[in-house]
Symmetry: C2
Subunit: 257 residues, 2 copies
Amino acid sequence: MKDRPLILVTNDDSYISPGIHALVAAVRPFGDVVVVAPDKPQSGMGHAITVNNILRLHPVDQFEGIEAYGCSGTPVDCVKLAITHVLKRRPDLLVSGINHGANNSINVLYSGTMSAAVEGAMEGIPSIGFSLCNFSWEADFSGAVEYASRVVKAALENGIPPKTCLNVNIPDIPVSEIRGIKVCRQAEAYWADSYEKRTDPHGGTYFWLTGMFEGRDKGEDTDIFALENNYVSVVPVQFDMTAHHAIASLNSWNYEG
Amino acid sequence: MKDRPLILVTNDDSYISPGIHALVAAVRPFGDVVVVAPDKPQSGMGHAITVNNILRLHPVDQFEGIEAYGCSGTPVDCVKLAITHVLKRRPDLLVSGINHGANNSINVLYSGTMSAAVEGAMEGIPSIGFSLCNFSWEADFSGAVEYASRVVKAALENGIPPKTCLNVNIPDIPVSEIRGIKVCRQAEAYWADSYEKRTDPHGGTYFWLTGMFEGRDKGEDTDIFALENNYVSVVPVQFDMTAHHAIASLNSWNYEG
């Protein structure tokens, strides 16, 4: 009899977040689950890894009956440590999330949740990142759990295309209002950044990042369009960053100085 | 008379690194230079941004006659703070580096140097990341300066294709032995990670990331091939992570649960 799938669960909001507990509930029926997740919030960490400092890993008992660890590093550190030190064999699936907050469009690059999934794909592991379009700690994850379950089932049945992971965003609406799943491309969008300048109690200046998200892409094949129209968005994500279409024009340049 | 180009310089090795001073020397003839760089090493920070903590920015006098700042954040934080708070107008060019160590192939995703350039491209600024294939603080940057100068001149003359930045790696050989510039794609490669497990003086366990880099791509159109054959590699890099070729197959899945 075939072994049950081994499923690695991670995220960027830390192992105490409601979102990762929702994800464990969603994937538990499909296999044996092991959790390796940051021990503190790691939002916005992108594909950061810890190279100039040490990492700690400690067992946690937040997940009843499931082997689980907190890691002092980034989401990508969690994936690397899980594969090399925690798991007894290569996992059959990596799932990351469910993030508290959307990771559509350009946010795939800033997102620790998605970077963990990208790292999984780089390691050759079928990987999926899940995000709910609600930043609140008290968000309702019931629709997200239902659709995470559907996507995981389909991924285990079909296999994720090689060198690709999935970026799944779930709209923040009751599950009965979700109209289904749309496979999309990443929308073009932009963060109109600003910083709030403040003075500390000692007279020093410091800054807080703020900023407004600007969708700039009216395409009906985008993740933003899907979410605005009450669909779950599924974007296949690759880690070849080459702008292949630009190679020809760069070959026409004169580099002789 | 047209203004001289405004050139923003950043990196991930901090403003005290020899590499950023080499880059300032390379670009200074082409325009007015402003430096905003991390105040401590930020290698491996990828596209991380600081969202849950404050940022500090302070003037530094390491660059004679040049406006320069140290920033407490990541390379991407430096770019965002420079554009929104430091520069009086949008820069005409962003250059990042010269990194102490190669950033070819898959390392574009881990690299703070390249993530700063990607952030610049996301902001619509022509952006280039430079890396020398030598991790040493005492590396010889003379070949890197010569070729950084050639690439910057060509980029200012031709304009970088939109939504693209350049990833330039320079082999660690005397400038007379560099055979020229090759426009390439990102090679497929892999980090065979491992962690060294140690015990601290108090009996606790901790880990250091180690790992071996494995090129897995024999293509002669890759950055690894160019560097191995004594060429400077130039890879156009995009920030659309969509695996467009995978959309059709994902649309054939049954998501009905």
